[in-house]
Structures are given as structure tokens and as C-alpha cells.
């Protein structure tokens, strides 16, 4: 299938929409290219969350990101949840809808965590079939995001990247690559993150997540409560080289700084993309130039890690 049919437009540089920033965004209209909203936070009838969401969705492109689809579970798909997602998407017209390649609930109990799947033929078929059903209900391709993981199963017969690729191919869905999650899992499972990037089909990669983590030396936990560290910026640059300009956002879920600090951090992402494509083909440069983000001055005491970008050892 030709690339143009699978992927949707490049949106530029975005941020996760967080309650703490609602007022700031409406007041200052920052030139962020787009916002990602956590679907579950807005599956409510009304009030402030819906008011702000709808006001912001009128002014910015938005994408919906969920955590409860439990696409890998052996429970039946939750049709009520899918209908609620579809209703929300009718209300705010997201550019796309994503969730994670994992499972969250079994026998009706929700762990509210993104739990890992065994990477087997059986799981590929199971997940792909369910993605097709979800795509039927939602009437569009969804994006599946790789999760951070801390254990691996004896049953697994393939690497995580092969698993993700096979599901995406079999289900004909798109991929959201979380660069931080690749780094975290690489550290916890001792693989080379570049091997991961090499195996993912560029035609299916629609979005990147960037985030921070907590490094405990022997292992790393995906906490989303820190700035994006140098290790993740470095891997981001490698991902840009492999996949070209991809809609990128910073995912900050805890210890959330003031909006201008995140704005500055997102500037770093754009800066790296500009450096990466400075000498590249006209097409990539043109795509990147569609982003209008980054021209405003934001006042912030926040220091962005401005160390020079290191090359990942390959």
C-alpha cells in the first residue's frame, strides 16, 4: 500500500493537554501545533473538563489518547467504552485516536496499568483481530503505542519490535512510538534501542511521544514526572533520521511544570528536528516547515537541558 494512503498529515509539535494549563492556553493562545487529550479524563457528562476541552478543540487540532481499551485482554472488548470514545470523537473531531499495545483488565477488573503481553503468534492474531473490530466501530485506523515494561515472558517467541510490527501489519493500524518507552524497556531488558527503530515500518509511524523517567541504575521506571533527559533526546534524533518528520509531543503526567517550561522543552524537540533535517531532501524540510510552533516568547525560569546532541552508538 502506498504511504500516502496509510498515514495522516504531519501535525507538528504538540503537548499533552493538562488541567493545570487550561486557563493559560485559553488566555495566551500559545502557538502549539496540536494537543493530545487523555480520553478517559473527558468521558464525563459536562462541567469544567468538557467546557475547556471543547473550547481548546475549537482552536487547535487535537488527538485522543486512551489507556483503557485493553486491546490485548482475553475479556471481550468493552463496547460501552468504545461507544463512549466514539461519542467523544464526534464531539471534538480528533485527528486520530490512540491506545497502547498491552492489556489493562481481565475478568472485569481494571489494573489501570499498561501490562505487557507475551510476544507470540497467538497474541499477534488475538490483538490484530481486536484492533480490526475497534477500527470497525470507530470507523478509522487507530494508533497503538509501545509501553514501558519491566518483565518478559517465557512464552515469548519474538522481540517486542517484531510483535508490534506484525500486529500493525495484520490489523492495518498505525503506530505511536513512545521514544522514552523504547529507552526504558531497552534498559530493563538489555536490548539496543536502535534495533527497535530499525524494525518498525516507517509507513505506519504516525506519532512520537517524548517523556522523562526515573533512573534507578539497575532499572528505569517510566514515571513521566521529569524533563526529557539527554538519553531520550538522543534516541529521538535517531528516530527522526529513521522515520522522517513525525508529529511529536511531550507527555508529562506528574510533577507538571508551568506551561512556559513545557513550551521551552518542546522547542528543544523542534530544534533537534530542524538540525536533523537541515541538509535533507526538500520533502522532509517542507514537511517540517508546516509547523508554526515556537515563534512566541514564553517567560520561564525553567532550564532546558541544552547539552549537544550525542550520536547513539550503533
Amino acid at each position: 500500500m502506498p504511504e500516502s494512503i496509510i498515514k495522516q498529515d504531519f501535525l507538528g509539535f504538540g503537548l499533552g493537554l493538562r488541567t493545570d494549563h487550561f486557563e493559560h492556553i485559553l488566555q495566551h493562545q500559545p502557538d502549539i501545533d496540536w494537543f493530545e487529550v487523555l480520553s478517559e479524563n473527558f468521558l464525563v457528562a459536562g462541567g469544567k473538563p468538557r467546557y475547556y476541552l471543547e473550547a481548546i478543540a475549537e482552536q487547535y487540532p487535537v488527538v485522543m489518547h486512551g489507556v483503557s481499551m485493553s486491546i490485548g485482554s482475553t475479556d471481550p472488548l468493552d463496547m460501552d467504552y468504545l461507544k463512549a470514545l466514539k461519542k467523544l470523537s464526534n464531539d471534538i473531531q480528533p485527528k486520530w485516536i490512540s491506545d497502547h499495545i498491552c492489556w489493562t483488565s481481565i475478568h472485569g477488573v481494571n489494573s489501570h496499568d499498561l501490562l505487557p503481553l507475551p510476544y507470540t503468534e497467538e497474541t499477534v492474531n488475538h490483538v490484530a483481530e481486536r484492533v480490526r473490530q475497534v477500527q470497525d466501530v470507530l470507523g478509522r485506523r487507530i494508533l497503538l503505542e509501545n509501553v514501558s515494561s519491566y518483565l518478559s515472558y517465557q512464552d515469548s517467541t519474538m522481540d517486542e519490535w517484531d510483535f508490534l510490527s506484525q500486529v500493525a501489519e495484520a490489523a492495518d493500524c498505525l503506530v505511536l512510538l513512545d521514544i522514552n518507552n523504547i529507552y526504558v524497556s531497552a534498559r530493563n531488558h538489555h536490548f539496543n534501542p536502535l534495533d527497535y527503530l530499525k524494525k518498525i515500518d516507517p509507513r505506519r509511524v504516525q506519532q512520537f511521544h517524548l517523556a522523562g523517567h526515573s533512573d534507578y541504575g539497575d532499572y528505569v521506571i517510566d514515571t513521566h514526572d521529569h524533563d526529557v533527559p539527554t538519553s531520550v533526546w538522543t534516541l529521538y534524533q535517531a528516530a527522526l533520521e529513521r522515520f522522517g518528520p513525525i508529529s511529536t509531543m511531550i507527555e508529562r503526567d506528574a510533577n507538571i511544570p508551568q506551561f512556559p517550561a513545557l513550551y521551552d522543552e518542546l522547542r528543544q524537540a523542534k530544534h533537534i528536528a530542524e538540525l536533523t533535517f537541515a541538509d535533507s531532501a526538500q520533502a522532509e524540510f517542507h514537511t517540517l516547515s508546516q509547523s508554526r510552533f515556537g515563534h512566541q516568547s514564553q517567560t520561564s525560569d525553567h532550564k532546558v537541558d541544552n547539552k549537544p546532541i550525542l550520536r547513539v552508538p550503533s
Binding site: V44, L115, H126, S152, N188
Partner: protein, 269 residues
């Protein structure tokens, strides 16, 4: 059962069990048997990362939803409540927004916490505040909508309320304690002498508001919510007011409700 289903069942059993369960070690060994040997950290630690994340996420949800209850209890009792509730009520919802819905009933029935009924009342009050916060939106009617109706039809008029409108009743001074803690002062000692009623709603600026109700106001509001008409409610007010002042009291109270945006529609038929 498929192998995938078996792994998921064993993983969840491990997450739900903790040191207080007799079969905790069994659940842990079952999961360890599913895991491959990896360099670096041990299987125990790998599993514990998931177990901790599970408990912390749910505890943080209780903290966010029940901030004042948390202050009332203090850290140790709050930790006990979070652990006991999480054990008794695993989440069955897609959103964490509903995770604590069963907390008031849990606190009312739990052998330890039910010794202090004000604790369950505090939790129930905070649930009501949340319900008012994200209830459905609706336009509001105004007093002129009532005036537009011919006065001879007024006796048959009924009211429809904004979806955020709720009544909270309790037999403790939970709301007074809530207000004190919110203002960073010491809550009054628990008092179970009288039943109290409160009206909760979401105001025009989308802020959650509440006000205490006298017995007459409570009966008036409850009657209208239950579908009684103006004439029936005037009659009910005779318990507190004489025949002249009862209709005035009803009209004045309704006027306040209109101003507060509590009334969605006036229905006459």
C-alpha cells in the same frame, strides 16, 4: 483456557494479592514461573514494580478525589483506608473517576471505620461535590420564564432542575468539618445531634457550590425534585408557614434558585 488468558489471570491475581493474603506467595510463584530469566534485577523486583504501581495509582486517585477526608484522617489512617478499600473494591471501571464511588458505603460498613460515622459522611459529601463538578451541562431557566406563564396555571407548574443539583443529608457535622479543614483550621469534634441537609450545585462559573437547607427548604426542594407542583408544595409549607406566607416563601425560594441557575425548566400542563 488459552495460555494468554492464563497469564493474564495469574498476573491479575498477583496484583490483587498482598502480604495479608494467604495465597500471596502462591500468586507470586505462579507469576515468576511465567517470566523469563533476565540479567539485571531479580524477578521479585520486576514483579514488585507492577504491584507498587498498581497500589500507588489507586491510592493517588483516592487522595485526589478525597483530599479533605485525607486531611481529616491523617497519614496513617488514610494509608489504612486506601489499602483496605483497594483490597475490598478492585476497580471495575474504565476510568479512575469512578474508582472511589463505593468508598462511602465501604466506610459505613467497615468494622473499623464505621465506629466514626462522620468519616463515611465526609466521603459521601466529597463524592457529591465531584458529581456536581462534572454533571451534564444544561441551559438555565429564569424567573421571567415563570412570569411568562399565565398565573392561573401556576398551581400546576413543576420544576426541572439542572443535572448538577443534588441534596446531601447526614446526621453528623461532616460538612462543617470539611469547611474547617478546607480553611486549614481545626475541625469541630464529631457531633451526631441533628440531621442536616445541604444543597449542592454547579454555579454559572462552573464552580461547585453548596448551601445549607432549613427543614422547610429541604422539604420544598425535595418535593419539587420528586415532581410535585407549585400548589402541592405551597400546601406542604403549611407545616412551617401560615396560609398567607407559604406561597410567598415558595416564590422567594424559587427566585433564589432561578438566580443560582438551579432550574433548567418550568413545566406547566
Amino acid at each position: 483456557m488459552s495460555r494468554l488468558a492464563e497469564i493474564q489471570q495469574q498476573f491479575m491475581a498477583y496484583l490483587l494479592s498482598d502480604e495479608t493474603n494467604n495465597d500471596h506467595n502462591k500468586c507470586q510463584s505462579a507469576m515468576q514461573a511465567n517470566m523469563s530469566q533476565q540479567a539485571g534485577i531479580s524477578a521479585d523486583i520486576r514483579l514488585a514494580i507492577y504491584a507498587n504501581a498498581y497500589r500507588i495509582r489507586l491510592k493517588e486517585t483516592i487522595e485526589t478525589d478525597h483530599e479533605i477526608l485525607g486531611r481529616y484522617l491523617g497519614d496513617d489512617l488514610f494509608d489504612k483506608m486506601a489499602a483496605d478499600y483497594t483490597r475490598a473494591h478492585p476497580s471495575a471501571n474504565q476510568s479512575l473517576r469512578q474508582f472511589c464511588d463505593a468508598l462511602p458505603d465501604f466506610l459505613q460498613q467497615d468494622l473499623f471505620f464505621k465506629q466514626h460515622p462522620i468519616i463515611a459522611d465526609l466521603a459521601r459529601f466529597e463524592r457529591r461535590l465531584l458529581n456536581a463538578f462534572d454533571a451534564a451541562d444544561s441551559t438555565s431557566a429564569s424567573f421571567s420564564d415563570l412570569q411568562a406563564i399565565s398565573p392561573e396555571l401556576w398551581p400546576n407548574c413543576c420544576l426541572r432542575f439542572h443535572p448538577s443539583v443534588q441534596i446531601f443529608t447526614c446526621s453528623s457535622n461532616a460538612v462543617e468539618a470539611w469547611q474547617a479543614l478546607k480553611a486549614d483550621s481545626t475541625p469541630p469534634a464529631p457531633d451526631y445531634q441533628s440531621t442536616r441537609a445541604w444543597l449542592l450545585w454547579r454555579g454559572q462559573t462552573r464552580l461547585t457550590e453548596f448551601a445549607s437547607l432549613t427543614a422547610a427548604q429541604h422539604a420544598l426542594l425535595l418535593g419539587f425534585i420528586q415532581g410535585n407542583n407549585f400548589a402541592e408544595q405551597c400546601e406542604q409549607m403549611l407545616e412551617w408557614h401560615d396560609e398567607q406566607s407559604a406561597p410567598m416563601m415558595v416564590l422567594q425560594t424559587m427566585q433564589t434558585w432561578f438566580q443560582q441557575g438551579l432550574i433548567r425548566a418550568v413545566v406547566s400542563d
